[in-house]
Symmetry: C2
């Protein structure tokens, strides 16, 4: 993904870093009116010792990549899998073993001690960063108010209004996975509540619905062993009735949940991202139908788009924190 414009010697650069539970993605971007990805690479996430080597490893990588002057580097944007307050404080990242500390200051200090460079560091929650990435460089480019739903193992979300991430009081804004869509649900969500959106439309939730539908049924291509959301969508696309029923139920519930979020946020675009969104148009059109049915008329006009940046949304969004 090399761009010809990297040879412009006067360009400024930013790094976008996306910290996940298994790997850290690093992107170097040319920063002008827009960001342009110049190169990207990954290093493993070292979880030992309470995740204390993670930021050190990032500082070292950036030191190695730099042209040694640092003058053209505008800063480092960081996406982390947990809540981040407006002042750069992370409020626990369970996957990384992190407790509460100021991740911006800590990384800036480490970069300074490892490389001698004094760089600006800005951090955000990874779902919020992905939303920012799609807003400026992906499926939300031509919109002003973007709601992103990240449909993975769990369900996350982010909201960007006029180019600014909505962080919230505890860094937990747009946790749409825990909108209650069915107060009567007997099973308990990971969060301890009942009937959260995540229990139905995450990859895990979709498998759960399929398993419930499967019990006692034989005329289906699906089997209870090694069932995945991907297999369910494949079977539905091939015309399997039971799988189609599950997909319709998922889309109906997701559309209703997004409608409730949209009644509060009034976005002009809703972007579907994360692994589940790879089901593509097949899922999107069904979600859109349910959304239009359930949204308040003044909020009904939002476009529903599939994400465009895929796994790069996080590094794009992180880079875009430096503006």
């Amino acid at each position: 993904m090399l761009s010809a414009s990297w040879v412009k010697t006067m360009s400024n650069y930013v790094y976008g870093v996306d910290v996940g539970g298994t790997s850290i993605k690093i992107g170097r971007f040319e920063a002008g009116q827009e960001v342009k990805l110049i190169k990207k690479w990954e290093i493993p996430t070292r979880l030992e010792d309470g995740g204390q080597h993670i930021l050190e490893d990032i500082a070292i990588e950036i030191g190695k990549d730099d042209d040694n002057t640092g003058e053209r580097i505008k800063g480092i944007g960081l996406a982390v899998p947990g809540p981040v307050l407006a002042d750069g404080t992370v409020n626990r990242c369970i996957n990384l073993g992190w407790n509460r500390f100021n991740v911006e200051q800590t990384l800036a200090d480490l970069v300074h001690s490892k490389t001698g460079m004094k760089l600006k560091v800005r951090a955000a929650n990874d779902a919020n960063a992905a939303a920012l990435g799609e807003y400026f460089a992906g499926a939300g480019r031509s919109y002003s108010y973007l709601l992103m739903a990240t449909l993975g193992t769990g369900v996350g979300g982010g909201f960007v209004a006029d180019g600014q991430i909505l962080t919230g009081a505890t860094g937990a804004a747009c946790e749409i996975g825990h909108l209650v869509v069915n107060p009567e649900e007997p099973e308990t969500c990971n969060c301890g509540k009942h009937g959260c959106l995540e229990q139905y439309v995450s990859a895990t939730g979709i498998v759960r619905l399929a398993k419930m539908a499967l019990s006692g049924r034989t005329q289906t291509a699906l089997s209870g062993d090694d069932l995945t959301a991907e297999k369910i969508f494949e079977a539905a696309k091939a015309g399997d009735e039971l799988a189609l029923g599950v997909v319709d139920e998922v889309a109906q519930i997701l559309g209703m949940g997004l409608a409730n979020a949209a009644n509060v946020l009034n976005p002009d675009v809703i972007v579907l991202g994360g692994g589940v969104s790879k089901a593509g148009e097949f899922l999107r059109v069904r979600v859109e139908k349910s959304f239009r049915l359930h949204a308040f008329h003044a909020c009904q006009g939002a476009d529903i788009n599939l994400a465009e940046l895929s796994n790069d949304a996080g590094i794009f969004g992180a880079a875009l924190l430096i503006r």
Copy 2:
């Protein structure tokens, strides 16, 4: 409500104007670090001729009130009962007979032609303005992210983050009255959907729930004639079991709806305003209990406060648009 400080001759002033369906409230505020209400008065809302005299009347009132130089007037803030886009366009105010036009530009032009003054005009939806008023001058003074629920004949809402109103793509952000809390509801909401929060917790919704509970019951102080939300709260406070049951149901549903809104917005304070909120602590503690039960743990800590500015929230918020 005269303040001694009005005599400071160097002070700047702003007008806060709240346009309702029957009257227009006008406040003159001293504008410094905070706004201070100097005087307030009302004029009737002239609805004839498609509401076209309303802005003219406001311009004339301000011209009459002014000291004829206009130099110390920083501007006019306007709260209107309908959606307002970020550029000052109102997108229909059904109660006033207004269609789509730029209300800021129109009022500024009228003020100029009637008084010779060139004043800045900023407009907002009235529920959003009330939220801004409570944020800076009322029950949200010591918070950063405020969600306000206005419980009147209908249910409106507003969200203020870091001092900025969330407007949304069509000026309809925070329409929490139309969050779907019960998709199984057989009765239709004014908006055409089923199971909107407004159907249960507005003054009208509370009477509806009471009437359903009343059918066939005799051991209650309530009667079906001239039933009002106020009477229901009075009976509940006096220990009437049926009324208490209705209030508990209202609080339970409102707490759940606010929890869903809070999971998206992550406020640090939720302010209950509007006529229904005059039920006071009796309602607040019950709503808080249900909210804590239904909110996602990271969003659970928001304080729930009763509004402080009552009917003045609109003029305060309007004045605060001029900053």
